[in-house]
């Protein structure tokens, strides 16, 4: 009852003054570590903009997409949402994300890293603003390098060096590996990332139709398969499933000599393994020369869902959040901001590396007609690498299935 009265008064007061609006912002930051920063960002905005007040709601990561979707379907969505960078074009195609070009987003383009900006561009229009991203690196254990006679100052730069170093780091007693130097599929770098790393792609130019069985992809998959065969498929899987959950970390425990992970992993290491002596370098490529797809990234975009009552105000806030808000975020959190200027104020080595790595980082949006292609590609990869299927044949089969999905969704 009290609440109702309060709301009623608030509504009356609101209508009496200027058109004061309250925006709902949904994002997945709820932990003790994240919350103070998002609160600070919101407070800063709210103080500056008495007529556009923002109310933040924490929605856990795994439920955010469904909750947002249901709210959009009910035509009662939040005004701004922080959501997976890889699926913005899907939501653009499905009329879930507002066209921000109509609200004047296009002139902001040069403030953001181009690889991130393009994740939210659909048919020439902009449907989201990049907020945070990440980039992947090769982490290597310097102490282990020393132990096996490798020079910790000379990490691998080519695939050949990577494999040679990894072989030296392997440690075996009898048939069982006590330590594995490196495996391409450990960590967060899958087949598609390796294909990009080798300068190829799994898709046609427009990222609409799959080209899974292209020569680069077949070659890359064969390379991973050969690597696995050398270690023994069973060993690789046993190792992988021992560390599959996230509750265990093979790099920290010294069971893996090298691993690929995001830039923010440095912070995890600082927290859980403060004494680990490691290096963080660019991911090796076949030639040693970096290219636009050497590393891969993910992250989050700011979107204004279709159906918001206050699109203009929502965009104004999203724009500020993606630039000024991102600056505050970058200073306090380990995420790399999508706005170029926002990262400048942070001078930590990891951040500088990420900044330098941006032009070698590909953020690949999920194709709007086959967003679930990843599971099919994973199956092809697993069937080849662990279960002896022919690389080309497995990729062709997956291609057929994804193509069917694309055709029926177009």
């Amino acid at each position: 009852m009290k609440n109702t009265l309060f709301l009623l008064t608030a509504a009356l007061l609101g209508s009496a003054g200027a058109q004061k609006v309250t925006l709902d912002l949904w994002a997945h930051w709820g932990s003790e570590q994240r919350r103070p920063t998002i609160n600070r960002i919101i407070d800063t905005w709210n103080k500056k903009n008495p007529n556009i007040q923002v109310k933040y709601t924490f929605v856990p990561f795994d439920q955010l997409p469904t909750k947002t979707l249901a709210a959009i379907a009910a035509k009662n969505p939040p005004d701004v949402v922080v959501i997976d960078i890889r699926t913005t074009t899907l939501r653009a195609a499905k009329n879930q994300a507002s066209n921000l070009s109509k609200l004047g987003a296009d002139k902001l383009q040069n403030q953001f890293y181009p690889n991130l900006w393009s994740t939210a561009t659909y048919k020439g229009d902009q449907y989201g603003l990049p907020f945070v991203t990440d980039s992947r690196f090769l982490y290597y254990n310097k102490d282990l390098f020393k132990e096996v006679g490798l020079n910790p100052a000379k990490p691998p730069t080519t695939w050949a060096e990577l494999e040679a170093d990894a072989k030296k780091l392997d440690k075996k007693t009898g048939p069982v590996y006590q330590r594995i130097g490196f495996h391409p599929l450990y960590g967060s770098f899958g087949l598609e990332s390796w294909v990009s790393n080798a300068g190829g792609s799994m898709w046609d130019e427009d990222r609409v139709n799959p080209r899974f069985a292209n020569p680069t992809a077949v070659k890359t998959l064969t390379w991973i398969k050969d690597w696995t065969d050398r270690l023994g498929a069973r060993n690789v899987q046993a190792f992988k499933s021992s560390f599959g959950s996230g509750a265990q970390d093979p790099f920290i425990s010294g069971k893996l000599g090298m691993i690929i992970d995001i830039g923010g992993y440095a912070a995890t290491l600082k927290k859980y393994a403060p004494n680990l002596n490691y290096g963080m370098v660019r991911i090796p490529t076949p030639t040693g020369q970096p290219g636009p797809g050497t590393s891969s990234g993910g992250g989050f975009n700011l979107e204004v869902p279709v159906g918001t009552k206050h699109p203009k105000e929502a965009f104004a806030f999203a724009r500020w959040m993606a630039t000024e808000g991102a600056r505050i975020w970058a200073q306090e959190q380990n995420d790399f901001p999508g706005a170029k200027n926002a990262s400048l104020s942070v001078t930590s080595p990891a951040f500088r590396m990420m900044s330098a790595n941006m032009k070698y980082t590909e953020v690949t949006p999920a194709p709007p007609y086959a967003p679930s292609y990843g599971t099919l590609l994973d199956k092809a990869t697993e069937d080849t690498v662990y279960r002896g299927q022919d690389p080309k044949q497995a990729l062709e089969e997956a291609n057929t299935q994804v193509q069917r999905l694309v055709n029926s969704n177009k």
């Binding site: 069973r234 190792f239 499933s241 599971t375």
Partner: protein, 312 residues
Amino acid sequence: MSRASSPPLPRRQSLNGRQREALWGYLFIAPWLIGFLCFVLGPMLFSLYASFTNYDITSRFDWVGVRNYVQLLTQDSRFWKALSNTAYYAVFAVPLGIATGLLIALLLNQEVRGQRLFRTIFFLPKVLTGVAVLLLWLWVFNPQVGLINTALYRLGVNENNLPLWFSDPAWSKPALIIMSMWAAAGGFMFYLAALKGVPRDLYESAQIDGASPWRQFWAVTVPLISPVIFFKLITGISGAMQFWSESLILTKGGPSDSTLFYGLYIWQTAFTDLRMGYASAMAWILLLITLAITGLQLWFSRRWVHYEGEVR
């Protein structure tokens, strides 16, 4: 709610006994019926209609006739894969789950010491839910240091023959089935509540009649708790057919689609690919399959389910 005063019945005098009973019947099921009509029927019919469209929730909703059904049954190999994975899971998980719960209930019914503590412990799996607990299972099934493989190794299984569980398409489903048995332990309460209804003098008379414990179990216990077993069978199958969230969190359908369950495929189709029309068609096919199995069960239940006070 146990007001003793009887609410006035309309035109009581003109109703005969049968009619009055029927009227009471409708009154008693009214809570369900009203809820069904208000909250359940609409969304169900909506999904039925959606299954004949290309519905994607937000941008299109066009009639496509039976195309989704035809595509599912004739072109979609993952549909059949998901169906067979689900059948595998249900065939093992449902009976094993019932056996687990029943075994614990029977043991607890033996009036052993520490009843309350044991009951609380076996209730634990019901309380322990959520993502955090699911991830604990990755420890249990960890091929190198997990509880199960450590035990198998001690029992003399060669290191190279130890199952890789969630990494091996042949062992991923058994792992999930073992997990489901653990969760089913909490179901002992259903049986225990029914067992407590078995009059003790029945056992005594059976004992005096010289029936072995085994025979007592089949002749006295099973008939009396058969209604609950039947309940667990129907709801267990229905639940197993829709099983999905564990596999999403633990295996994401892998390795090699070995844990791509029907529910998980629906989830992926509906919320990753946003093909809600297609997903709705899948859901209705599942409903029909489950309903057919239930119909058979109801038919067979006449032979083995014993109701002390059935009203036909």
